[in-house]
């Protein structure tokens, strides 16, 4: 690809630490780019999909449902209904005459078959154009069947993935809606009867069972989890969300807005946490104790950290000897994860020399810039050509990314970690930090790289 990989229009979106400029982000992708970004529907679907007992009905031609059939990797402890794929499969006549009747018929059929407590109806690009009144069809179906039928305004073209997160949150806010006074009364009763603080945990999708690890930590420090948004959650649990006294947010990109709205409406405070890496996990648990204002809990937190660190720190130290001095590149969806990964790699003696996201925010890019060392490259909405160029220029040994980045890294003879839907081990918490170290080790130190005949 040579030198011609960065268009002048793209220069504002790429920054080398040490340069005096601010990074642009949250703009639309350039037409013609091989963008790694997805659409509004994708954002909405990944946020809502882990709700286990819901029918997720995609209103549109078949593709949008096919590509999202059970790909999130969210685990469930109960219902499996969400792992089926439902589509109205719109055809040409529906495009011409409208899809409302077909949608209503599909809703009737699915409710009769599966008796779900909630149906999410996702709008796709075409629905936004042909003008189906999704809300009206959903309202009527809800009245007919006495269950929740909620539209998700996720037509692909109305923004990027972040807009989809927001659409999902708006739908969730409708699902959990109750008068603030009622919420206050119920909160008081719930907190009193539980005998320990009851909180919500936002932005964890239970990939590879990560939610369960964090639930266990919180339980051990004396905190009950009311509901997780949305990993391994159910409709009934979600509806109790306003009873919590605190919202913890793990994935800020998807859930900051939700937490803000819940604070405004129900007066529930929120705190940002991150359970990636030993240090961030420990700090996050301390934040929980501090927010809930209990010295006793703070002691339990320190005890837990000491116990877990005693088990996992030495094992991580073992892997560190093989990894210290390596260089990593990070290209993930959201900014907060990227920030955590920079810290977590440092725990392994690895420096992050390139970091980028699909949908990071300005303040997150600022934090990244503060964290990385001089010369590191920071970029927003990178394309494969840019990823290739900076992986090579920065001499990265390893890339962290999602599905589409994996074969690119491999072709360049670089190791790879999936920190997205295709992760195979939980990467959260203390045990997750060990899993992460093992994964980094197993890919960076794999014998397969020895057989590459190109020079590195």
């Amino acid at each position: 690809m040579g030198e011609s990989t960065a268009l002048p229009e793209r220069e504002a979106f790429i920054l080398t630490k040490g340069q005096k400029k601010t990074l642009r982000c949250d703009a639309d992708s350039l037409a013609g780019c091989v963008s790694q970004r997805a659409c509004v529907y994708c954002g909405a679907r990944v946020v809502l999909n882990p709700i286990t007992d819901a029918v997720h009905l995609v209103h549109g031609p078949i593709g949008c449902a096919s590509y999202t059939w059970d790909i999130r990797g969210s685990l469930t402890s109960g219902e499996d209904l969400f792992r089926n794929s439902f589509s109205t499969d719109l055809k040409e006549p529906d495009i011409i005459f409208g899809g409302e009747k077909k949608l209503a018929a599909c809703l009737d059929e699915l409710v009769e078959k599966y008796h779900p407590p909630v149906v999410f109806v996702y709008s796709t690009c075409i629905v936004g154009v042909i003008g189906d009144d999704l809300s009206a069809v959903c309202r009527a179906a809800a009245a007919r069947h006495g269950i929740e039928v909620l539209p998700v305004e996720s037509s692909g073209f109305i923004g990027n993935k972040s807009a989809g997160y927001r659409a999902a949150c708006d739908t969730l806010l409708k699902l959990i809606e109750m008068p603030p006074e009622e919420a206050a009364v119920r909160r008081q009763a719930r907190q009193a009867s539980a005998g320990r603080p009851v909180i919500n945990y936002l932005g964890d999708f239970n990939l590879a069972g990560e939610t369960w690890i964090i639930r266990d930590y919180l339980h051990r420090i004396g905190v009950a989890v009311n509901v997780v948004f949305t990993g391994d959650s159910t409709c009934r649990e979600l509806k109790k969300a306003p009873e919590a006294c605190l919202n913890l947010i793990q994935c800020a990109g998807s859930m900051q807005y939700m937490a803000g709205q819940m604070q405004e409406k129900y007066g529930i405070p929120y705190r940002q946490v991150s359970f990636l890496g030993l240090q961030d996990t420990a700090d996050s648990l301390r934040i929980v104790a501090e927010s809930l204002g209990s010295a006793e809990m703070a002691e339990r937190v320190e005890k837990l950290i000491a116990e877990e660190a005693a088990v996992y720190a030495p094992q991580i130290e073992y892997y560190k000897q093989f990894l210290a001095g390596k260089r990593a590149a990070v290209y993930v969806g959201g900014g907060f994860k990227a920030i955590s990964l920079i810290r977590q790699f440092r725990e392994l003696g690895i420096e992050v020399v390139m970091v980028g996201t699909q949908t990071g925010r300005k303040e997150e890019y600022q934090v990244m810039n503060d964290l990385v060392e001089e010369g590191a490259v920071i970029m927003d909405d990178a394309n494969p050509a840019e990823l290739e160029r900076f992986l090579l220029e920065q001499g990265a040994d390893l890339l962290v990314g999602g599905v589409k980045e994996r074969p690119l890294a491999y072709k360049l003879g670089r190791a790879f970690i999936d920190h997205n839907h295709d992760r195979k081990h939980p990467l959260s918490g203390f045990v997750g930090a060990l899993n992460f170290a093992k994964e980094v080790y197993s890919t960076v130190c794999s014998p397969v790289w020895r057989y590459l005949n190109a020079t590195r």
């Binding site: 011609s4 990989t5 268009l7 599909c106």
Partner: protein, 462 residues
């Protein structure tokens, strides 16, 4: 736990899909376009479409899948996507510098009515470069239709009859199959000594070797010169109706190249038909090497036939591949009691059978014992299986839920296979492909027999 499907069959009037056995046109068009050398597929629609197609193809092929998008915004959906496409074309040549851009549409750009050919005409295209398009509305047909439409657009754009007389050359339209299959079809044709043009040809593109370099445009793919020269060929072999007839008919119409409507050469009978078609048209000798392979295949079939006889099979996937598999399992003495595709299966023109008629034709005397359906879904297939259990399921990765719920041996064939690797490199077509299929099928059946055997029935020799 994953079994939510009720046994009782009830009429479904809604027209919705539960657990689909198809996806949308644009991904097929993207895959076909990757089969042109130096081509960047371009998705004229929202970013998500392109992202999903690349993701899905990446998961199946485990190779980088490059494609660009018009990145539609709200403005584009109101004022049309013309400006986006023009900017995209300019940017693509500037940054990615392909020889060819193959534009396909999406449900969005089709519905807002973008006039893609006119937009392309108004765009800046550098000398020697080509931009062409195929209409691939997602609300018609399936991914196979999209593949077919893109293959046809290649003919419309490139093929030319420049010679007074046709030359001894065959056009091979392999259909929506893996690069491993395309390589095998080419190998057989080479052995027969017949010069050929294969398109689309994704071998060397989505199964490219590891070199330590990232090649935006790997070595493989049909060149534009070859595509042009396809108009001078003496014959086209359209393998798999649903993916290939469109392009074959267009070649006949535009360049006067006649075509033969062949099944995807899966199994002995369809491979024989392919080899015979080459021999008949080009007076080519069948070399000993091929005869030997065929003989080995028959030998294997006789060695193993007692494992297969009377076993009931359910087959699903893309129509052309399903047709080939149906014929093949019949040749092994198995009974394909359920045969389903998600692709709408209407007749493809005069004298060309639709999916259900075609399968019934293959089934012959046992047709009335078998369920056959086009435009079906896996919910229906699962219901069929609950009502008439089978010994084996053959289909794409999505069959794994049914296989688990019903505890049926399962062989993964077709598109997509997302949970196993190497499949895209290995053929299921030709005599060698048939041997591989037998190995896969007998492996699955005998593994199950071993698993289920009581200690006293557990045998060393099978």
């Amino acid at each position: 736990m994953l079994d939510y499907t009720p046994k009782a069959l009830a009429e479904r009037k809604s027209g919705g899909m539960i657990n689909p056995a198809k996806t949308c046109q644009p991904i097929g068009a993207m895959y076909a376009a990757l089969g042109i050398h130096g081509c960047l597929p371009h998705s004229h629609g929202s970013q998500g479409c392109c992202s999903y197609h690349r993701m899905h193809l990446t998961r199946h092929f485990r190779d980088p899948i490059m494609a660009s998008t018009s990145s539609f915004t709200e403005g584009a959906s109101v004022f049309g996507g013309g400006a986006n496409l023009k900017t995209a074309i300019k940017n693509i040549f500037e940054i990615y510098n392909p020889d060819v851009i193959a534009v396909h549409t999406t449900c969005l750009s089709e519905t807002i009515g973008d006039d893609v050919p006119t937009i392309i005409k108004q765009s800046e295209v550098p000398d020697g470069k080509v931009v062409f398009h195929a209409n691939t509305p997602s609300y018609q047909g399936s991914h196979v239709t999209g593949f077919s439409n893109m293959a046809k657009a290649m003919v419309t754009t490139f093929a030319e009859a420049t010679l007074a007389e046709k030359k001894a050359q065959v056009n091979l339209l392999p259909g929506f199959v893996n690069p491993g299959d395309m390589r095998e079809i080419k190998r057989i044709t080479k052995l027969m000594g017949v010069p050929f043009v294969m398109f689309p040809d994704t071998s060397g593109v989505v199964d490219s070797p590891m070199t330590g370099k990232f090649e935006m445009y790997p070595k493989g793919g049909t060149t534009t010169e070859e595509l042009k020269d396809a108009g001078n060929s003496q014959l086209t072999l359209a393998m798999g109706r649903f993916a290939s007839i469109g392009a074959a008919e267009q070649l006949e119409k535009k360049c006067g190249v006649p075509f033969a409507d062949l099944q995807t050469p899966i199994g002995i009978k369809a491979t024989d038909a392919f080899v015979m078609a080459l021999r008949g048209a080009f007076a080519a000798e069948v070399p000993y090497e091929l005869e030997e392979e065929r003989g080995q295949l028959v030998d294997i079939m006789t060695d193993t036939h007692f494992h297969f006889h009377g076993k009931k099979v359910a087959i699903f996937g893309d129509p052309d591949v399903v047709a080939g598999l149906t014929e093949f399992v019949l040749s092994l003495g198995m009974l394909p009691v359920h045969v389903l595709t998600g692709t709408p299966g209407g007749a493809l023109g005069a004298g060309v059978l639709g999916f259900e008629e075609g399968i019934k034709d293959i089934l012959g005397p046992v047709a009335d014992k078998c369920n056959v359906k086009a435009a079906g879904d896996l919910f229906l297939l699962h219901q069929w299986i609950k009502n008439e259990p089978v010994d084996l399921l053959i289909g794409t990765t999505y069959g794994k839920y049914i296989a688990r719920a019903e505890d049926i041996p399962f062989v993964r064939v077709g598109f997509p296979v997302l949970d196993r690797s190497v499949h895209s490199y290995m053929p299921i077509v030709g005599y060698r492909g048939a041997m591989r299929l037998i190995e896969m099928v007998s492996g699955a059946l005998l593994e199950r027999a071993d698993r289920d055997a009581a200690d006293e029935d557990f045998e060393l020799v099978m």
